[in-house]
């Protein structure tokens, strides 16, 4: 017997049945693409075009097309790399960590969030690869026999750890996402009317039948994958932060970086999930699955992680003063009052102040406010990486090397281009793949809508739903 709380709102509203879930989610997969989707894809493709052009310029003319220089050797590109990787983290957090914590509200958002992870990591990977200058030699980062004329790779370097961390993270996330998709592809396959759709989804669904034995193994596999992905996701941004923390640059050389980067990653990732979900639920009419309850829960995570990030900023400043190291002190004073003060204060405003607005319940539950704040958070998190990278580097050890960094149009082009790449992938996903995990939502439907769950068939059929009348928001 499962207790139904009269004060907790159901996860799926609108009195849905199992068939309704199938119908609602499969609708946009089976229907012809609508106008709004086509327009959105068109815009995304334009930005993808900008990406392709900028990459072509970078490859043809070299890294000189970018604004970085000898002093600021990591600039716009690594900022974007860290930004995208961070965004990816929310997907794994939702699908893995919330699974381990048995947070059932994750079921209707985990599919899209994991897709976001995968696409964000693809976008992130573009930057270090392009920064190599000769991306066709990218395989040199792998530990290959040194007949290439080089030595073995340096396993003491965090940059190499990154290669392993990001590629493992990408592959494990992809597998986790795909395992979850298999039962839903089977559902689409069994509904498909056209021969092409049926064959395509039959191939994708890997012969899935929904046999009890397979489900049992599927649940075991999901649980173990969640258990593996949880330390994995924490390790990824920890290692990204070590790219900075293990160096001796004032402003980078701090032990607070790993937890601070992980919190920041989750913070920006949830903001991106919210941006995407608010659009998706509206476009695909999924308001009963992605409810205000979901938005509110995610906003709470944003407030928590945003506060951790805020405390980290203040701690950094305090430690710089407390350390008594004048270079460290200068680096931080220069961040707040130096030539890049506007970047620092944009970061502070967007990351520290805006998420605090979510202490108000009305703002937490307002879609418009959430949408705006989620954009602000993503801008703030971009500035955070910019501040860390550019302001720490632009005042070199020798004042004769002090320079300013400004991006070229190619820098900007690659950045907005990856946003185009991201949205192209996401829109294709949203059209051809089920955006909500149907099987998982079905598995929580009974307990979440207030129907009691027992093994005694006599008493089980219709429990009472204490609070089942809901406004559609």
């Amino acid at each position: 017997m499962q207790h139904v709380s009269p004060i907790r709102e159901p996860l799926v509203t609108g009195g849905k049945t199992y068939a309704d879930i199938t119908e609602d989610v499969c609708r946009q997969v089976e229907a012809k693409p609508n106008m709004r989707w086509m327009v959105a894809l068109g815009v995304a493709l334009v930005f993808l075009g900008i990406f392709i052009y900028s990459v072509y310029r970078t490859l043809w003319f070299g890294i000189g097309e970018w604004g970085l220089n000898k002093t600021v050797g990591w600039a716009w590109d690594i900022t974007n790399f860290v930004w995208w990787v961070g965004i990816g983290h929310a997907g794994t957090l939702i699908s893995a960590i919330l699974l381990l914590f048995r947070q059932k509200w994750r079921t209707s958002i985990n599919r899209a969030a994991e897709a976001m992870t995968i696409f964000a990591v693809i976008c992130a990977a573009m930057f270090p690869v392009l920064h190599m200058g000769r991306p066709w030699l990218a395989y040199w980062v792998l530990p290959l026999p040194n007949t290439f004329g080089s030595l073995w790779v340096n396993f003491n370097s965090p940059l190499l750890w990154d290669v392993f961390a990001i590629s493992t993270y990408f592959s494990v996330s992809l597998v986790f996402w795909y395992i979850g998709l298999i039962p839903d592809f089977a559902t689409i396959r069994d509904r498909a009317t056209g021969p092409i759709a049926r064959r395509a989804y039959a191939l994708l669904s890997f012969n899935w039948t929904g046999s009890a034995k397979h489900w049992s193994r599927y649940e075991t596999v999901s649980l173990i994958l969640a258990g593996l992905a949880t330390p994995l996701v924490l390790s990824v941004h920890t290692i990204v932060s070590m790219d900075f923390a293990t160096s001796v640059i004032p402003g980078w050389h701090t032990t607070i970086f790993p937890p601070y980067f992980v919190a920041g990653a989750i913070f920006s990732g949830f903001a991106m999930v919210l941006t995407l979900m608010i659009i998706t639920r509206k476009t695909f009419k999924l308001e009963d699955y992605i409810t205000l309850e979901h938005v509110e829960s995610m906003n709470k995570v944003i407030t928590l992680t945003g506060s951790i990030v805020g405390v980290a900023y203040i701690t950094e400043f305090f430690i710089a003063w407390y350390s008594g190291v004048e270079y460290e002190q200068y680096a931080f004073i220069n961040r707040a009052t130096g030539p890049y003060w506007w970047a620092y204060w944009s970061m502070m405003t967007c990351n520290v102040i805006t998420p605090q607005l979510f202490w108000f319940r009305s703002i937490r539950r307002s879609l418009t406010a959430t949408f705006i704040i989620s954009i602000f958070v993503n801008i703030g998190m971009w500035f955070e990486r910019f501040v860390i990278i550019v302001t720490s580097l632009h005042r070199d050890f020798l004042p004769s090397s002090w320079v300013m960094f400004s991006p070229t149009s190619i820098d900007v082009g690659i950045y907005v281009g990856t946003i185009g790449l991201f949205f192209t992938l996401f829109l294709l996903f949203a059209k051809f793949f089920p955006v909500v995990n149907m099987a998982e939502v079905k598995s929580i439907l009974k307990s979440s809508t207030g129907v009691s769950h027992t093994h005694n068939p006599g008493a089980s059929l219709h429990g009472t739903a204490p609070n089942n009348s809901h406004k559609h928001d």
Partner: protein, 174 residues
């Protein structure tokens, strides 16, 4: 070409289904398989499905990953081409931990998932393998294999008396 016949009991409710499974098994009928659109809690016990040993597979695959990663790094930097990097010893174990961890996770995850695919017969095919297409939507289907001399009417009555909304016969040509 061999063909197999199945009796399919279609159910509307998971609790009714669980009860029907118990009763069918109690009546001495062997259930071929049960198909559902989502994992039903408690079905493993009533069907007598053993707990999966996939976590053990994951553990040993992970162990292989750990050993391989350690061997690779110690061999490459410690023996094959030793170099002093940042004043560290040739075999600097603390800085080998991240790569070791990542390869452990990678091998554990892929080893387990590939094993899951192989033992469950999951592979891309063009055919539709389900016995009743509604079992991936909103119905639960209990399949009982028909052998020579099985009393179809008795099975029909048994399933219906335990709440099946439909009882169908299906022949599968292998």
């Amino acid at each position: 070409m061999t063909s197999k016949k199945y009796i399919l009991g279609v159910f509307n409710d998971e609790d009714v289904l669980l009860n029907a499974i118990e009763q069918t098994r109690a009546a001495g009928t062997k259930i071929y398989d049960v198909f559902s659109p989502y994992p039903i809690h408690g079905i493993d016990d009533v069907l007598g499905i053993q707990r999966s040993r996939l976590p053990i597979v994951a553990f040993f695959c992970g162990l292989c990953g750990t050993s391989f990663a350690l061997w690779m790094q110690i061999y490459m930097l410690g023996f094959d081409w030793p170099m002093i990097i940042g004043g560290k010893p040739h075999i600097a174990l603390p800085s080998f931990i991240p790569v070791t961890f990542e390869l452990t996770v990678l091998c554990a995850a892929f080893g387990m998932v590939i094993t899951f695919f192989i033992i469950s017969g999951l592979r891309p095919t063009l055919k539709v393998p389900v016995l009743d297409v509604r079992s991936t939507d909103d119905k639960y289907v209990m399949a009982i294999e028909l052998k020579e001399g099985t009393d179809i009417n008795k099975l029909n009555d048994l399933l219906r008396s335990h709440g099946a909304i439909e009882v169908n016969e299906k022949e599968v040509v292998k």
